[in-house]
């Protein structure tokens, strides 16, 4: 155990506190990794997610072919393991003669970005509004809660499709369409947790020491409930990615110039009889990613927040 050092100035003190905080975070992280080792499926899911993130980040560096320009003479080439396939195009080519593997790797960018951004923004809005509503209650709470209830009257996908219909296709509009209703679940979770935590003794104690509302919320309550938010966030991410792919499949998602798995599956439908791989392979990439995220999310829930568990 480290003995408290000689703290003279305010800066020294802050620096010392920061070091302690960092070491606690690190210890928690190491403990989390150890617990993750007990859940092999979740660990596997986490590794697959990391591989996808790596591919998305370094798509240009790890691919040889172009994701955008094709060679019409090489159109609809089968994957390497089939008769007539070659290792030049390991997963075959599409109708424009573009390498499917390259496009699948680039497609990870759209899916991960949409998943990450929509869940991130939804968490931000949901946590902020949920905190205000659950901590302060009153008119603001009933106003936001009523609005949230209204949004819940729309099935998620229909709402997203409706918003996309009015805003028009495009990457930013898609993020808007998915977050417009996406925050509601986080809001409800945080609001409920805030209301429960607010009456606990540690919050009373913090209030007795004269801390401001802001300090109580940020320093005392939020660290206790943020685990549940992360767990829900992971579980929602897979759903958001599927929704993005569904919108892109319908032609309502990201612009066709960007390689997205949903639109790749849609484009391959016309060639199903002669080239099954064009729509099948991007779907497999999507399935593996969503499966990995869901497995990781379930493991995360078991480790961080077993209360949320509904299954036996």
């Amino acid at each position: 155990m480290e003995i408290a050092p000689d703290v003279r100035t305010l800066l020294d003190r802050q620096f010392y506190l920061l070091r302690i905080r960092l070491s606690i975070w690190w210890a928690n992280f190491v403990q989390f990794l150890n617990e993750l080792r007990q859940h092999p499926l979740a660990l596997g899911g986490g590794i697959i997610i990391l591989v996808y993130i790596f591919c998305a980040l370094f798509a240009e560096q790890i691919t040889v072919q172009s994701a955008f320009r094709g060679n019409l003479r090489m159109r609809l080439q089968p994957p390497a393991w089939l008769e007539g396939g070659s290792w030049e195009f390991p997963l075959g080519t599409d109708a424009q003669g573009r390498d499917i593997l390259t496009r699948v790797i680039f497609g990870a960018r759209v899916s991960l970005m949409v998943g990450g951004l929509t869940v991130g923004i939804s968490i931000l809005i949901g946590v902020m509004l949920g905190t205000l509503a659950g901590y302060f209650r009153g008119k603001l709470d009933s106003l936001i809660s009523r609005f949230a209830d209204l949004l819940l009257a729309f099935p998620f996908l229909i709402f997203a499709i409706g918003v996309m219909a009015f805003l028009g296709p495009g990457f930013t509009n898609m993020i808007l369409a998915l977050t417009f209703k996406g925050w509601v679940e986080f809001f409800r979770l945080v609001r409920g947790e805030m209301m429960a935590e607010k009456s606990k003794e540690y919050v009373e104690a913090a209030r007795a020491t004269g801390q401001s509302h802001f300090a109580i919320i940020v320093r005392e309550i939020l660290p206790n409930i943020i685990h549940s938010v992360f767990v829900l966030g992971t579980l929602r991410m897979g759903y958001m990615i599927i929704t993005e792919a569904s919108l892109s499949f319908l032609g309502l998602g990201v612009p066709p110039s960007l390689p997205a798995w949903g639109s790749m599956v849609a484009a391959g439908r016309d060639y199903m009889l002669v080239a099954w791989w064009v729509s099948t392979i991007p779907g497999v990439a999507l399935l593996i990613l969503v499966l990995a995220i869901n497995l990781f999310g379930e493991g995360l829930r078991d480790i961080l927040d077993p209360r949320l568990k509904v299954e036996g």
Binding site: R146, D149, L150, L151, A153, F154, P155, F156, L157, I158, F159, I161, G162, V163, M164, A165, F166, L167, G168, G238, I242, A245, S246, F249, L250, G251, L252, G262, V265, A266, R269, M272, L273, W276, S279, T280, G283, L286, L287, V290, L291, N294, L295, V310, E311, G312
Partner: protein, 336 residues
């Protein structure tokens, strides 16, 4: 007493319906350009006088709040406006397409329950068996699999490769079916048309499986876990100690209570059935509401989109209400 409560609950949905209509109305106004510009965009050169006349006809010259009021008044009377492209009342268009969508949703619900209830019960009774593990693994696959892709794979296998089932549509093009209700399976039963019945059922199989798969996955998991809980409870032990037959214990004592949380989950899945059908109808060329909405989006036919989204939301609210009512019948301890 229960009827009064149900009525109360029904009344409580009215403000929600109004809210839904208001949200949809304002979304319509978010669109760049006003509806007349969009209509004219498809019609070619038109005089300014004509544009003014159309603006007046659609009440676009009035203040926004007046427009909202008129929209709500019309909607209450069942008038959801006029399709720009198909040149027919939106309500009629929706009424024509709705039976196909409901038929598909019911087919999907039936398929998913037929699969998930026995599987959920068996995997709880034989916990940790091979069947149990397979069920859990496939339910994970079910919730992680995008519907449009599953549909394509099923078409590739069952229609293209083996030729067992049709690829598209609701019934074979060469069959004539007299329409009574718009539900093809029901109509062919009513008119005693055996060929049409077989054809419409064959057309229903693949879309229903595709749409029902995620629902089946969720329901099987929840039923399994609540069965595990009830099977461990005291009253089940009592039933066993009285010497009741094992299947009697499982089906009569445990299942009835395990169904309570399951019904709630089935209710939540209605959203998936409604939302998913837009995608599945596009994959299987199913001539329902979802496909009409997707076409309307590409044609920028806003009254049709607006009306359909409202109908979807209302159906969702009513379905949730129905689930709540069913819930009180299953569990008398809960009041609405």
């Amino acid at each position: 007493m229960r009827v009064v409560k149900i009525l109360e609950r029904l009344l409580a949905t009215i403000p929600i319906m109004f809210g839904v209509a208001i949200i949809v109305f304002f979304f319509m106004r978010l669109t760049p350009g006003d509806p007349v510009d969009i209509m004219m965009g498809q019609g070619g050169a038109v005089s300014t006088g004509e544009i003014e006349r159309l603006r007046e006809e659609f009440n676009l010259d009035k203040p926004l709040l007046v427009q909202l009021w008129l929209f709500l008044k019309d909607a209450l009377r069942g008038d959801l406006g006029y399709s720009y492209i198909l040149k027919r009342p939106v309500t009629t268009l929706i009424a024509e397409r709705l039976p196909a969508t409901i038929e598909l949703a019911l087919g999907a619900l039936l398929v998913s329950l037929l699969f998930s209830i026995p599987v959920g019960i068996l995997s709880a009774v034989r916990q940790n068996s091979l069947l149990d593990r397979l069920t859990m693994a496939s339910s994970f696959l079910g919730i992680s699999m995008p519907g449009f892709w599953l549909g394509i794979i099923l078409i590739l296998l069952f229609s293209v490769r083996w030729g067992w089932l049709p690829v598209q549509g609701r019934i074979s093009a060469d069959l004539k079916l007299q329409q009574v209700t718009g539900f093809f399976v029901l109509d062919s039963l009513l008119t005693g048309n055996r060929q049409a019945l077989i054809s419409s059922l064959r057309h229903l199989v693949l879309p229903s499986i595709t749409l029902g798969a995620p629902v089946a996955a969720v329901v099987a998991r929840v039923l399994r876990s609540s069965m595990l809980e009830t099977l461990r409870s005291d009253y089940v032990m009592l039933a066993r100690s009285k010497g009741a037959h094992e299947w009697n214990v499982v089906l009569k004592h445990a299942l009835r209570n395990a169904l309570i949380p399951t019904v709630t989950v089935v209710g939540l899945q209605v959203g998936i059935l409604l939302g998913g059908n837009m995608i599945i109808e596009a994959v299987f060329g199913w001539p329902g509401l979802g496909r009409m909405v997707v076409d309307a989006i590409f044609n920028r036919d806003f009254p049709l989109i607006q009306g359909s989204v409202m109908v979807y939301a209302f159906t969702f609210v009513i379905a949730n209400l129905a689930v709540d009512v069913m819930y009180t019948y299953l569990n008398p301890k809960v009041s609405l």
